[in-house]
């Protein structure tokens, strides 16, 4: 099927190409299927490359050493010449496939060279084109209602700068029009209250928001992310544990969401320190792809308003199209009542946060500030990504591909593997699909088997498998994925 949008956008003689696929338009030489050519997997060159790397860099988390020159479209190549269909995409951070021609063009441009060779201290000496780069890219993609942006360097950095904005906002509100007191100015230099207040950010069990010290204090995914690191004593609320399939458990699930909302409210009421903001993901990704319904998110929005707490939605992993909408929270929030702050990174390549309230810009300059305040070269890439998504209508195609994958996985898992694979989720969330195994070991075994068969897939949480393909992943790629999932399961079980 081809949508009306496509028809109105493109000229007659190109319809056939678009009908075929955006991926073949971008990547005429994309492989037709995975190619595993090394005798062993991982291959021998990979092993030797890794041991070289080990001399100066912690390489132990490496799945394989990639050859990015030979990677193309939805296929990632490794140094042994193997080509894997990639549904992990650099931990969910490649939007348009490998070696996308439009990105190659943007990255070969004069504009890019100037940005790379002359990295500015953006808040002191911005370049004459930064405003237009923002306007035509990052800001054009802004979630409805949030018309300003502060740029940063990574998801952790985006969240922490958002926390800073929230803390300063909250303190300014309390202070009213008065200036900092002498006591505040003195105590802050000793890291003591009132200048350095015991304020907090509330996050949810199994949430993941990064690994620096403020963001790590709100990350509640796994001990390995947090052990041995000092953290702030901030509150943690329960996140709903939904039962699947959703249609079958709607009453239980609503009760579960009500329970979590009530406990969150109780926590807000009893917490001894001021809570400046609540941070939540539209889907808890690292924590296991845990979903909640619009009822829960709109309930949170009501709570935060009632208690004058800011609501930060962390779209680092869920944003930029994979859910079938540009921002995943658009599935969940009343469009007239959006969150206060939305953070982004990963697939957008540029990072930062969107906001609406002018007061989230601190009352004085040099408070939300650092040397670089973002990176124009990444903002140029974000602009290209946004424009390609719109031009090629990739939100629509991602929704379609996601529905196709979901329906086929549902059929497969309801069949002979129903005791092996559980909790298929992500219906109507584009390709942000996940499912569980019974144990971490079974899940890891499955992921390795899939790689051996030519598909790179990632895990999350303790026992979950998450799909995070690019936005140019299509039905024909989905068919290969589905076949290999079935083949791998059949071999293992």
């Amino acid at each position: 099927m081809i949508s009306r949008n496509y028809r109105s956008l493109i000229s007659k003689n190109s319809i056939k190409r678009y009908y075929l696929s955006v991926a073949s338009d971008y990547f005429p030489n994309e492989p037709l299927k995975p190619e595993i050519i090394s005798e062993t997997y991982p291959g021998p060159i990979n092993e030797s490359k890794l041991s070289e790397l080990a001399k100066s860099f912690d390489h132990r988390a490496a799945y394989f050493v990639a050859d990015y020159y030979k990677s193309i479209g939805n296929y990632i190549a490794d140094v042994d010449g193997n080509k894997l269909l990639d549904t992990y995409c650099q931990i969910s951070s490649i939007p348009l496939g490998y070696n996308n021609p439009e990105l190659l063009k943007a990255c070969s441009s004069k504009e890019m060279q100037v940005a790379l060779a002359n990295r500015p201290a953006l808040a002191c000496f911005p370049s004459n084109d930064y405003e237009s780069i923002l306007k035509d890219g990052i800001l054009a993609a802004a979630p409805r209602g949030l018309d300003k942006v502060w740029t940063a360097l990574s998801g952790s950095d985006a969240n922490e700068t958002a926390y800073k904005a929230a803390f300063m906002y909250k303190a300014a509100k309390k202070r009213g029009n008065s200036k900092f007191t002498k006591e505040e100015l003195e105590s802050v230099m000793d890291n003591k209250s009132p200048g350095a207040p015991a304020a907090s950010i509330l996050s949810f069990d199994k949430g993941f928001h990064g690994r620096l010290f403020g963001s790590l204090s709100t990350t509640r995914s796994k001990p390995i992310h947090k052990l041995d690191i000092p953290q702030f004593p901030w509150p943690r609320a329960p996140f709903p544990s939904l039962k699947y399939p959703l249609e079958q458990y709607s009453i239980e699930n609503q009760k579960e969401e009500e329970r979590c909302l009530e406990l969150t409210e109780a926590l807000i009421k009893e917490w001894p320190d001021s809570i400046a903001a609540i941070i939540v993901e539209p889907i808890q990704a690292e924590g296991g792809d845990n979903h909640a319904s619009p009822y829960f998110y709109q309930g949170l929005r009501k709570l935060t308003k009632a208690y004058e707490i800011l609501l930060i939605v962390d779209e680092v992993q869920t944003g930029v199209g994979a859910s079938g909408k540009f921002w995943c929270h658009e599935h969940l929030f009343d469009p007239n009542d959006p969150p206060d702050i939305v953070t982004f990174s990963k697939k957008f390549q540029a990072a930062g946060f969107y906001y609406k309230l002018p007061e989230l810009q601190p009352d004085q300059p040099f408070r939300q500030f650092n040397t670089w305040c973002g990176d124009p070269s990444k903002a140029i890439i974000a602009k290209t990504i946004y424009n390609e998504i719109i031009k090629k209508n990739l939100l629509h195609s991602t929704k379609k591909t996601g529905d196709y994958i979901f329906n086929n996985l549902e059929t497969l898992f309801n069949g002979k593997f129903f005791q092996i694979v559980k909790n298929l989720r992500g219906k109507n969330r584009g390709t942000l699909i996940a499912f569980d195994f019974n144990t971490a070991k079974e899940r890891d075994g499955f992921l390795l088997e899939c790689r051996k068969n030519g598909v790179n897939i990632g895990g999350c949480g303790d026992t979950a498998v998450r799909l995070r393909p690019s936005l140019v992943f299509e039905k024909r790629h989905a068919d290969i994925l589905l076949n290999i999932v079935e083949e791998s399961l059949s071999k293992l079980y």
Binding site: S71, Q113, R211
Partner: protein, 471 residues
């Protein structure tokens, strides 16, 4: 042929200022437009980087300034350096930008050669690196490495975590999330994220309203200048400050796992410490099992006349961790002890673990510095500037106080903040972009291709501004 004429045959021979105010009218409009969507209150002027060249930065009003601030000390070789433009055009770069990898999981095949280029300029004694994205990020990653190291040393490197540790860390509580401190120094600046803001002690405006860790703050020596005249007093000051450090480590209410210090406190006012002081700190950290982190974010990459400023101190053994960013464009920390690699994977980890695009730039910068001996060059130019300023200090003793510095990493104080701010503004009108630090200091942070001919223009502008002020 001088290095700047080799790189920049078309570099302007003098600044041009066309506007009577700075920012000029075109900048002002651009700042207002940008301000609607991006906080632009800190903008000095809007730059035209395509037209900037070498040691000169252009703005949208057509003003061309000699730049001694260089993007807050972060431009190493000058604007539009041909070697960096070449690196930016290279197939490696384009690939690095288009296919940004999750380096910890899927490093590219050229990553190792990229690293080895960078490692060629590692400080003495360091042969490994972990990469980050900014100075604040680099320092926080170093803190994480230090905390994990400290706890592993206590627990045993390969000892498994206890269930209690695993449970309590998820509640942000001890013992899994222990009470451990990083000691820093008064007037220090290490960044503005939450742990780095906790060790930053420069100004209230950098920290106020943010929750902070209850970590100790020692004193950084305050010397009397000129150093040659006050040797005895300054050594006493070193001893006093060392005693405070040792006392804090021994008496703080919970263990001090690490100490972080800048070779020259930059944002905090260009405060220098002696070799004696730094060697003393190295001894104290060794005796008390405290990880020593040297923050070379602003001081590193040549400007002090050594590639890394702490090389001036002859520290032995080498510091445990040395952080870098800014002029190197790539960020992270150097280290040498394998035990700073955590015992398990995914402990020191994040999506990108650095940025190969910035590493390529860092590699090119390193290559140019070595090829053209730019550190030696900078030491010579620094002496020339220092002597020039010393003469001007005799002429204007109230406006050039406490002249201090190594190579081009030079600073001096004016009488008040107001005086300093006016001085910097007048310098801009005279075609020189220069920065301040702390309350009343001026800091010079030119590139490594700054030469005597540029210094002459700068010194003449200083003379001009100060003599006008006197009238």
């Amino acid at each position: 042929m001088s290095i700047s004429s080799q790189y920049y045959p078309d570099e302007p021979s003098a600044p041009t200022v066309n506007t009577t105010v700075i920012p000029g009218p075109v900048s002002q409009k651009a700042i207002a437009d940008l301000g609607k969507v991006f906080d632009s209150r800190t903008v000095y002027f809007v730059a035209d980087y395509e037209k900037s060249l070498g040691n000169y930065i252009s703005d949208v009003d057509g003003n061309v300034y000699l730049d001694l601030y260089a993007q807050i000390a972060s431009i190493a070789l000058g604007y539009n350096n041909p070697a960096l433009i070449k690196a930016a055009q290279s197939p490696e770069m384009i690939r690095a930008l288009v296919e940004r990898p999750a380096l910890g999981n899927f490093p590219g095949k050229d990553f190792e050669s990229l690293l080895s280029k960078i490692l060629k300029v590692a400080p003495p004694g360091q042969d490994k690196v972990w990469s980050g994205l900014s100075g604040a990020d680099a320092n926080e990653l170093a803190f994480k490495a230090a905390f994990m190291y400290y706890q592993q040393k206590k627990r045993g490197y390969s000892t498994e975590f206890t269930p209690e540790e695993e449970y309590s860390c998820m509640q942000n509580q001890s013992p899994g999330s222990p009470q451990l401190a990083v000691l820093s120094f008064e007037r220090a600046f290490h960044g503005r994220l939450f742990a780095t803001a906790s060790v930053t002690r420069s100004k209230p405006i950098h920290k106020i309203d943010l929750p902070s860790f209850n970590w100790p703050k020692a004193e950084y020596p305050s010397y009397k200048y000129p150093l040659s005249k006050y040797e005895k007093e300054n050594k006493q000051e070193d001893d006093r400050c060392l005693a405070i450090v040792e006392n804090l480590i021994k008496t703080w209410e919970f263990p001090v796992a690490a100490l972080i210090i800048e070779p020259v406190q930059s944002e905090g006012g260009d405060n220098h410490g002696s070799s004696y002081f730094f060697q003393g700190l190295r001894d104290i950290t060794l005796q008390n099992d405290v990880v020593m982190i040297v923050d070379e974010v602003q001081t590193g990459v040549g400007a002090t006349g050594k590639l890394w400023a702490h090389e001036h101190f002859n520290l032995s053994p080498a510091p445990d961790l040395v952080t870098f960013s800014k002029k190197f464009q790539s960020a992270g920390y150097w280290f040498h002890d394998d035990k700073f690699i955590p015992n398990k994977t995914y402990r020191q980890f994040n999506t990108w673990c650095g940025d190969p695009a910035r590493m390529i730039i860092a590699g090119a910068i390193a290559e140019e510095i070595v090829k053209h001996d730019l550190v030696e060059h900078t030491a010579k130019v620094g002496d020339y500037i220092y002597n020039g300023l010393a003469k001007l200090a005799d002429k204007y003793p109230k406006d050039i106080q406490n002249l201090r510095g190594k190579a081009t990493f030079i600073a001096f104080d004016l009488e008040s903040q107001n005086d300093r701010d006016n001085f910097l503004y007048q310098l801009k009108l005279n075609g020189v972009n220069c920065g301040g630090c702390a309350e009343n200091s001026v800091r010079l942070r030119p590139t490594l291709t700054f030469e005597n001919k540029h210094a002459d223009i700068f010194l003449a502008a200083v003379d001009n501004v100060l003599s006008a002020k006197r009238q």
